[in-house]
């Protein structure tokens, strides 16, 4: 991250124009996924440019979480293909996805309340001096890394349970960035967060973008605030991407109208209640 920040000054990245597909950080083609009789993803096509921040919005039950979990290897798709930097990958597991540079910060925060900040930051990637954990090294690296991201976590020894929602989210993001994620999926990064904390997280994402090494997909329910940092916006409805525009070409109003139109249509299709 520190070198990413350093690089930001001389190479500010404009919102990247859609380019040749091989340069895409991530491409999802015709991905489908069902659970029993329920179709969560019908036919998803999605593209994420390098260094791009893509906003993915959609109503409850549109399939956002399923899509995220499919991209990061938690679910295996029933059909379709996934390309990472032009190369097709069949993601077998979260570990496998991580090994090709895809990492996800989940809505239900994969932090363990009972563990310290630094243990959480290194969860399942612990520094070990066999047979023992190298706590000293992890503590030091965690402090350095959090500071380099400009995050103010007073005590890396503190139990995560004692931190605020924003601090927890920040730690979860910092953890992913630390693991050299090239494609970062943020599931509801602003959920359960105050305005100030939300701004901090968005600043964090801006810094990542400025670094140019990480491409980000933000899944947001409350998109008004998140839209600020996005280069492009996709809307997921009924398991399909139904809308794809550059941030500059759309507005909060248009997106709201889109979401509400869906509701109106479904209402119109129903016989009126008496």
């Amino acid at each position: 991250m520190s070198e990413a920040l350093a690089g930001a000054a001389d190479a500010p990245q404009e919102s990247p124009a859609p380019a040749a597909s091989t340069s895409d950080a991530l491409r999802v083609e015709h991905v489908a996924k069902s659970f029993g009789g329920v179709t969560a993803l019908r036919d998803v096509n999605l593209r994420l440019g390098r260094g791009e921040v893509l906003g993915l919005i959609g109503d409850n039950g549109a399939g956002k979480s399923t899509l995220i979990k499919t991209i990061c290897g938690f679910h295996q798709p029933d059909a379709g293909r996934i390309f990472v930097v032009g190369e097709e990958v069949a993601l077998r597991s979260v570990d496998h996805a991580r090994s090709v540079g895809i990492d996800c910060v989940y809505q239900d925060l994969a932090l363990v309340n009972e563990l310290s900040v630094f243990h959480n930051m290194f969860l399942n990637r612990e520094k070990v001096r066999w047979p023992l954990l190298n706590n000293r090294a992890m503590r030091k690296l965690a402090r350095q890394h959090l500071a380099s991201m400009g995050l103010n976590i007073p005590d890396v020894n503190a139990e995560v349970a004692k931190l605020s929602g924003g601090q927890r989210q920040a730690i979860a993001v910092a953890r992913s960035v630390y693991s050299d994620a090239r494609i970062l999926l943020l599931d509801e990064p602003l959920a359960a967060m105050g305005a100030k904390e939300g701004t901090q997280i968005l600043d964090l994402i801006r810094d990542l973008k400025a670094g140019g090494k990480v491409s980000v997909i933000i899944i947001a329910h409350n998109y008004a605030q998140a839209l600020d940092v996005c280069d492009r916006v996709n809307v997921l409805q009924h398991g399909q991407i139904t809308f794809d525009k550059r941030r500059a070409d759309t507005s909060v109003e248009e997106l709201t109208e889109l979401m509400v139109a869906e509701y109106r249509a479904s209402r119109a299709a129903r016989p009126p209640a008496v």
Binding site: V94, V112, N113, S116, H119, V128, L133
Partner: protein
Amino acid sequence: MSETVEVTQRPAPEQQPAPANGSRRVLSLLSDAFLRRREASILLVAVGLMIYFQFSKSNYLSKSNLINLGQSTGPIAIVAVGIVLLLVAGEIDLSVGMVFAFAPFLMHFAIDFYSVPVIPGILLALLISAGIGFINGFIVVKLRVPSFVTTLGSFYALQGIVLLTSHAYPAEVPKAAEGHIRTWLGAGNWAEISWCLVIVALFHVVLTRTRWGLHTIAVGGNLLGATEAGIKVSRIKIGNFMITSALGAFAGIMEAFRVHTIDPNLGGGTQIPFTAISAAVIGGTALAGGSGTMIGALLGMFVLAELQDGFNLIGFNANGIFLITGLAILASMIANQYLSRLRRTGRA
């Protein structure tokens, strides 16, 4: 867990007592450490009981009585080590009480019927017991049966196997094991408590300082989160079931050596897991998963042993021990709730 560990080891510059009001700072530091360290309160109880019983009966701290205390603490504290691992991982094992009784028979069958040499025979018994733990873990993790029900089932299944294979008769300790092996593995005055201390120390390190321990805490603290972080949850859970069974088997074999007979009722069935769970809970391990302490469990077992032994010596009605145990469990759980709230809010 990490909290209780880190606090003592971290050189915290901001907490250096100022020279001026040094003694007061030290005092508040001590009380703070006391609040934070779950084992502290149970240690206080253990020492308090010791002083009380010594004053009311001067032979309480005699060598022979200390041997008694060691023998009643050792085997069950070893079982409690496994129980703590499982409780931290969010599971439980009731069947370990029957593994305790079954393992000496496994050793006896191997050595006396299949002419396996003594040490390999013992190792074989431990291995088969670990296999029983594997079956428990497999049913819990892969077939998704709650561990309470799974191990309730395997408890009775094992009891049946013990009674069928032994024809409900005790057997003699294998001749080949008499002598040094029997002395070192249980019959010696200090054998059981020594093994117990080694095992508690070992697993204290495992729980607080190794990846295995960290992942066990993670699995019990946030199962979904641990899975999403890529931790092999099944491996951790099944592994801890195997460790618990193997520890139960080892404790059972030592106990059989000590009492010098292989009894199908060794340990009294449910009494072993119930006492071990009590020790863990009194020592400060929550049933909710995600936190626990080995040293606390050892102290918890020691307190239970002290009570039983002390009441015997002063001639208190032995039946009252159950009342005391029950109240101790409730009191320690209520104190735990209170203390953890105190830890979470500001104070710590």
